[in-house]
């Protein structure tokens, strides 16, 4: 294919990508460098059903002019990135200077909102992703070996967790793990501990979220691996059997190497997805013990009456950077393999 033909084929996609991916990201990056104008306040009296109180209010006439002059807000450079709600550079410098030992430094940094969210986000990503790949692969191998008349129903049920909307799925499980719910009550009975609550303990909340994540995403890995299994060359498998390979050796030395590129693909998708974990935190009402970067963006935009666009934009950019860092090793590996084949 000539370059000209290639461009003719690709330009609609390039245009769509520029419009729907590049432009929004650039606008978010731009937004993250601005904060609201300094508010001009006036002292007023506010009266209502419960009496009058002296309050302050924003001086509308004065603000209107300021806003018209520069609608984007006040330029703040990268200060939003370094403030105490994000990278907290000043706070960390101070913590390192005033703490006595490493443990104290760690505890105090983990108390900063961004790092608290980051540590959960990373734990979730690095625990759930490998488990999803492992479980997905196991399910695929098992389903592939059951009699064909059972395959249809089994595949359908295996896919259910992925079909259910994340929010609905997490809400269903949330009620099941309630101390009055099926799972919660059974665990209390099992451990003979009536005060056991999956919702209250931070550790158990983390575990619950990890389990949910694996439950929800394993079907995705299963579908991919199952499709891959249908294409494993039967002559290679047969020759390995002739060489005396048992079932495990067939999987280990024929199937696994063959499916490795698929595993890379699943890993890529899962790293991206899991780094953006959000819905389960809402569904499980888990914000007491677990917050993620996406959850921080949500609170900036939705919890306050006045959304903090700059702060949300900065967290979004940091999330994008995080995803890129996570994906780099996998992408490098892929590129190397590609070059080797070429």
């Amino acid at each position: 294919m000539t370059h000209k033909e290639f461009m003719a084929f690709i330009w609609p996609s390039l245009l769509a990508m520029a419009l729907f991916i590049a432009v929004p990201i650039v606008s978010v990056a731009y937004q993250s460098m601005f904060v609201e104008h300094e508010q001009i306040m006036i002292e007023t009296e506010t009266c209502g059903p419960f009496g009058c109180t002296p309050e302050v209010a924003v001086d509308q006439d004065a603000m209107r002019k300021v806003r018209e002059d520069s609608p984007a807000g006040r330029f703040n450079g990268l200060d939003t990135y370094t403030n105490s709600s994000h990278l907290a550079t000043d706070e960390i410098t101070e913590i390192v200077a005033t703490s006595e030992n490493f443990g104290e430094i760690r505890d105090r940094i983990m108390n900063l909102p961004f790092y608290k969210a980051l540590i959960f986000t990373l734990s979730y990503t690095f625990i759930v992703t490998p488990l999803v790949i492992v479980f997905g692969f196991i399910i695929a191998v098992v389903v592939n070996s059951i009699p064909s008349f059972l395959k249809g129903p089994v595949i359908f049920f295996s896919l259910l967790p992925m079909i259910v909307t994340p929010l609905v799925g997490s809400l269903v499980l949330f009620w099941m793990i309630d101390s009055r719910g099926v799972v919660g009550a059974f665990l209390q009975y099992l451990f003979a501990d009536p005060s056991l609550s999956l919702k209250a303990s931070p550790t158990l909340t983390w575990v619950t979220l990890f389990v949910y994540g694996v439950w929800h995403s394993a079907p995705f890995a299963f579908v991919v691996f199952y499709a891959g299994l249908q294409t494993v060359p039967s002559d290679t498998l047969e020759s390995s059997m002739v060489d005396g390979a048992n079932r495990w050796e067939q999987i280990r030395f024929v199937v696994m190497p063959y499916l490795l590129p698929l595993a890379t693909f699943v890993a890529l998708m899962q790293l991206m997805d899991n780094f953006r974990i959000f819905e389960p935190i809402i569904g499980f009402s888990a914000s007491a013990s677990a917050t993620s970067l996406s959850y921080l963006i949500y609170t900036d935009l939705r919890e306050a009456e006045t959304p903090l666009f700059g702060s949300a934009a900065a967290t979004s950019m940091l999330t994008i950077i995080g995803v890129i860092i996570l994906l780099l090793p996998v992408l490098f590996r892929n590129a190397r393999e590609f070059n080797r084949k070429a």
Partner: protein, 412 residues
């Protein structure tokens, strides 16, 4: 039983006129587009306003719990997507900050004869909203359980905690108490309630500088923590809707929740009729003997958008006058604590009325209160769960608030 509101609230006593309302409200033309939260009392108002619709007057309404998030963008367009945003003490603030609603003085003078002076929300001398209902959190208690164990209705937190301890020690209930302690908006509202009970203010007078890192802040945190000792550890997930089924499951003796939910707790149509019958309402406990109920008072009211034609604005005001007319309220007394002329409180209003009589304080209507609310919502829970000290919690709140207030332009 007779219920008397404080004179400051309802002049009352007017005989209800039962004359049939005019079908067309006398509006010549225009479009009325209502945006409101989604609960029964507001549906009633919107439905009444819709009776003003005719060939030349269009009345539509959108009742959604997302109202707070869409109101600013919806009113920023010209013409605005909605003419009547129905707001509360907190959600009017962004509309004021962004200059999106118009003063109503002229309309009140011309069309607002039915309004009581207390219904007018004035900012800087101008009427910016018309309040029609009051709301606050208050105490729900089980009178059967209290009578059986000889417990008086708690008037202070110390009494509430003592009573809870007694019920727990006697083995009556493992966790007799519940409150909306879910981190985020709910937990922050509890902090605000309790802090108001201390008599302290959140900000240094006339500035956006936070003033809670003091004895009042400590006392508030300690009180909240003392309550958690008698609450199920699941309290970290409790919001308004989460507590109700537990109450109905006969597992609680005390709960604090919203007045607007009271009629659902004590109504005949409750899924647990015996428990509904045994449920009674009282003022929020005070922090100390003789103190005010530690509850923030809220109002709900309507405003009129700025970016609409004068014809639409007038039609909107007059349709809303129909919506909150004394006749409409008289037919729906039990749905809310109305601030409208002629309202006689029903049993479901006991708690909020008791708060009002106890001179509870209003939720602060300052432009930066929302930022503090968010900071409180994110930073109190670790102290309650025991993973950090009260001092650290107050420091974290202050840091989060200062960062947000700087970004919003309220602090330097």
């Amino acid at each position: 039983m007779k219920f008397k509101l404080t004179t400051a609230l309802v002049a009352c006593g007017l005989a209800m006129s039962t004359t049939a309302a005019l079908a067309d409200c006398g509006i010549e033309g225009g479009s009325v587009r209502i945006l409101s939260n989604d609960f029964e009392a507001l549906h009633v108002i919107a439905d009444a306003a819709k009776t003003c619709a005719n060939d030349s007057v269009e009345v539509t309404s959108n009742a959604t719990t997302e109202h707070k998030n869409i109101q600013v963008p919806a009113l920023t367009t010209n013409p605005a997507s909605y003419t009547v945003p129905i707001v509360a003490t907190n959600s009017i603030v962004p509309l004021l900050n962004e200059d999106l609603i118009r003063p109503l003085d002229a309309y009140v003078e011309k069309w607002g004869q039915q309004l009581l002076p207390q219904q007018l929300i004035k900012v800087d001398g101008k009427v910016m909203a018309i309040a029609f209902m009051a709301n606050a959190q208050h105490l729900f208690y089980r009178k059967d359980i209290l009578e059986e164990h000889g417990i008086a209705v708690p008037g202070t937190y110390a009494e509430l905690i003592e009573a809870s301890k007694m019920l727990k020690d006697k083995g009556v209930m493992e966790y007799p108490l519940a409150a909306n302690f879910k981190p985020g908006w709910n937990l922050a509202a509890e902090f605000v309630n309790t802090y108001l009970g201390t008599g302290g203010d959140f900000f240094k007078a006339g500035s956006a500088e936070l003033d809670i890192d003091n004895a009042n802040g400590m006392k508030t945190l300690e009180t909240l923590k003392a309550m958690t000792n008698y609450m199920s550890p699941d309290y970290v997930t409790y919001d308004t809707n989460g507590v109700k089924p537990i109450w109905e499951a006969n597992e609680l003796a005390f709960a604090t929740s919203w007045g607007s939910r009271a009629s659902a707790y004590i109504g005949d149509d409750s899924p647990a009729p015996e428990i509904a019958k045994a449920t009674a309402l009282a003022a929020m406990p005070a922090l100390m003997d003789g103190g005010v109920p530690s509850a923030a008072l809220w109002w709900d009211g309507f405003t009129i958008a700025k970016n609409i034609s004068d014809e639409d604005a007038e039609a909107s005001f007059r349709a809303m006058m129909k919506g909150i007319s004394p006749q409409v309220i008289a037919e729906n007394q039990e749905l809310a604590v109305w601030l409208v002329d002629g309202y006689a409180p029903t049993p479901a209003a006991d708690g909020v009325v008791a708060n009002l009589q106890g001179k509870a304080r209003p939720y602060p209507m300052v432009p930066y209160m929302g930022l503090l609310h968010t900071a409180l919502g994110d930073n109190v829970i670790e102290y309650l769960q025991g993973s950090e000290s009260a001092e650290q919690a107050l420091d974290d709140i202050t840091a989060a608030y200062n960062t947000a207030a700087k970004e919003a332009g309220f602090l330097n």
